[in-house]
Symmetry: C2
Subunit: 427 residues, 2 copies
């Protein structure tokens, strides 16, 4: 059904017809809150507290040490990894949940560089200047320690940067600031043509947009558990390796959990086969159990069209938000930083404004519309108001209300009140 | 009160006089279980499920993203670190809880090697052949990537190994197999005399024996959150750096959480000051909250004499166990691998036996006495039955009962039943 005019009534009608609308009931969302920050921290699944109570009271409390065997703790990193695999076009046994995105990127990027070292002319990592900072920090560290160059370019300079001195192209699939999405398959083809490996950060993709790592021919990927996967604050992250590289993997964080036989307690490290060799220390069982519940909220959509249906709804929501911003917030100084082209858009919309973005977001949060703020660099990048649209729990009427509240914040001038200017660490 | 004869009645009398006996009430321990595996996985504190439910339902569920500020999530790694500091002779602000022991060791050992690289003659890491495997695996990885030598020796060869080509002496303070404890202060003095740095793994020390890192003059330390600190399966680990090295630290896992200003999202990595620069990815809030509760069970002893009183009781328990084994299990083929010398003993006792150790432990576990098994290397090391005595929740009568059950297992020959021979991954 086309949505014109874009009224609250029509939005509610669309939600009434939405076969995915029932999925929202899987979450504990506070009354009166429209949560548009699932791209930073997904909300609490209703199933999680019960599962964690079970893990604590029954498995840890009663089972004690025996629960490593009897409660399946030993298999959780792979079991959770297999659920993630279903969302990103990977096969069972190819994904493991472990550590943080930063740590996993260090492992993956090290492994990629170790393979690429076969060709000593390849002395650079190429990435975007606007990539998520932790990815850049990890790459900087590896480049420094290995005498390589980190070549950071703007998005439109990527083509020219894929030269024959490049070892690895490291990109975040969906940009955390603007929500701009790369064409993974095209870039992989281009990178492989130029003889380099590809490392993808799926932090803003997994559970947000359809990803097909095998179809794209990607080499390595990492991703985050606490954004669209709803795994909770600081949830374990994940990593994937294309099995074609399995025989050539050497990564430096050789903790016992990545050993072929950790409980043999041998003196020498022998890596476990495949992606399991990317494990390192003892995994967080509470973290994995919560992430498992988060993943179930996405897999619940499998019978309803899965990521394809979620993507269709996500695009409807982001398109609606952009249209309403253009209709109702003209003259308030906002620009839309997210592509109008649906094929290049993730599951968020970012608005820029020359000044006041922080205070405007605080005023909006006070009204129950939770997005977040990301600072610009004071040069090329403006400050950003960021709105994530997770189709699992956001509907068309939410989008309408969010824009309506933003409109009220701007019309009233309320955001200029002094209390909204006070900064704290995280929005 | 001297314990002679070593009868159950006398043990119960000692427990009746024990000022620490009330601390056991802090834990959820199953009826009929004597838990002697807190050196592998500490038991569930009663406070933990409530705290985690609060973290889930109130902080995550209702506070959502704002809880990073409003619920204190941002400060948890340091807040938990400060509690650990009180147990290991470190000062506030010197310890951070993060990642796993393996990952933390990689960071710490890298930082130590970076300092030691000022003297290019120092090309070796010295450790014990019997050190916990994950420590050896991490050291092997760093040695391989940096062209250094990992020199593994037996304990009695350490003196001779501390030569002027050594960059770092890396030891686990209390041996995971035998419970043998190093003299940290003496080894630090000897190592510093020889111009090398010291890295200590406190996995079997923190919360088990008094540790005074400053008094010992140690350089770096890491440790585990899920053993004697009762933080739960796969709890965050910790790390400490002597502040005298603060200005010279460079570690490779430069994730955004270790940045001086993570939410400024700058392109270049600038490490946070001091130990905070050893943080990497987003921390696990569930893991930290549970570890916080685990630490409270130890800090509850501070008004009762703290680690000194816990140590006194621990030695009484391990001495009692050793005496009862000698009295009651003569002729059953056991040898005690743990030092009779109290100054060299951690908080566990290990028994070796030429054969049958696995089956004997399984028969004992079936009777409610939970210890664990660690395989020997088939050469120098026999298989081990390992018994941890955490004075927070173990009493003298528990020790008596444990030996009595072991005696019954041996007298009856029950352990030879086929079902006890079946091996699984973890005891």
């Amino acid at each position: 059904m086309p949505l014109t005019p874009r009224t609250l009534n029509n939005c509610e009608a669309l939600d009434g017809q939405d076969p995915l609308a029932g999925l929202r009931a899987q979450f504990s969302l506070p009354e009166g809150v429209i949560y548009l920050d699932g791209n930073s921290l997904g909300p609490l699944p209703l199933a999680t507290p019960g599962r964690i109570a079970q893990t604590l009271n029954e498995e840890w409390g009663k089972g004690l040490i025996t629960s490593w065997n009897t409660a399946g703790w030993l298999d959780l990193p792979q079991q959770v990894g297999d659920k993630i695999a279903r969302l990103i076009g990977a096969h069972p046994g190819e994904v493991v949940a472990a550590d943080s995105t930063s740590i996993n990127l260090y492992k993956i990027l090290s492994a990629a560089l170790n393979i690429a070292a076969d060709d000593p002319r390849r002395t650079a990592i190429v990435s975007e200047r606007g990539n998520f900072p932790t990815d850049l920090y990890i790459a900087q560290s590896l480049c420094r320690d290995r005498g390589l160059t980190l070549h950071l370019v703007e998005r439109d300079e990527l083509d020219a940067a894929l030269r024959d001195d490049v070892a690895v192209l490291m990109l975040t699939h969906v940009d955390y600031r603007t929500g701009t999405m790369h064409d993974m398959a095209a870039l992989c083809a281009q990178a492989h043509e130029a003889g380099m490996l590809t490392v993808w950060d799926l932090a803003h993709s997994a559970g947000a947009v359809p990803v097909d790592l095998h179809a794209a021919g990607a080499d390595f990927a990492v991703g985050c558990g606490y954004k669209y996967l709803n795994g909770g604050p600081g949830a374990p992250a994940f990593l994937w390796m294309n099995p074609r590289h399995a025989d050539r993997i050497r990564q430096p964080l050789t903790g016992w959990w990545g050993h072929a036989a950790p409980f043999a307690f041998t003196t020498d490290y022998i890596p476990a086969a495949g992606v399991n060799g990317f494990q390192s220390g003892t995994p967080s069982i509470l973290g994995l159990a919560a992430l498992d519940c988060g993943l179930d909220t996405l897999l619940a959509a499998e019978g309803l069209g899965g990521m394809v249906a979620l993507r269709r709804k996500s695009l409807a929501l982001t398109s609606l938000f952009m249209a309403l911003v253009q209709e109702r917030l003209q003259g308030h100084g906002f620009a839309i930083a997210t592509p109008a082209d649906e094929t290049r858009r993730g599951s968020q919309v970012s608005l820029t404004r020359a000044e006041g973005a922080w205070a405007i977001m605080q005023a909006l949060i006070e009204r129950g519309v939770i997005g977040d703020f990301r600072a610009g660099d004071g040069k090329h990048q403006h400050d950003i108001l960021r709105f994530g649209f997770a189709p699992l729990y956001i509907g068309h009427a939410d989008v309408w209300q969010a824009v309506d509240q933003l409109h009220q914040v701007m019309q009233s001038g309320q955001w200029r009140e002094a209390r909204f200017a006070q900064r704290h660490a995280v929005t």
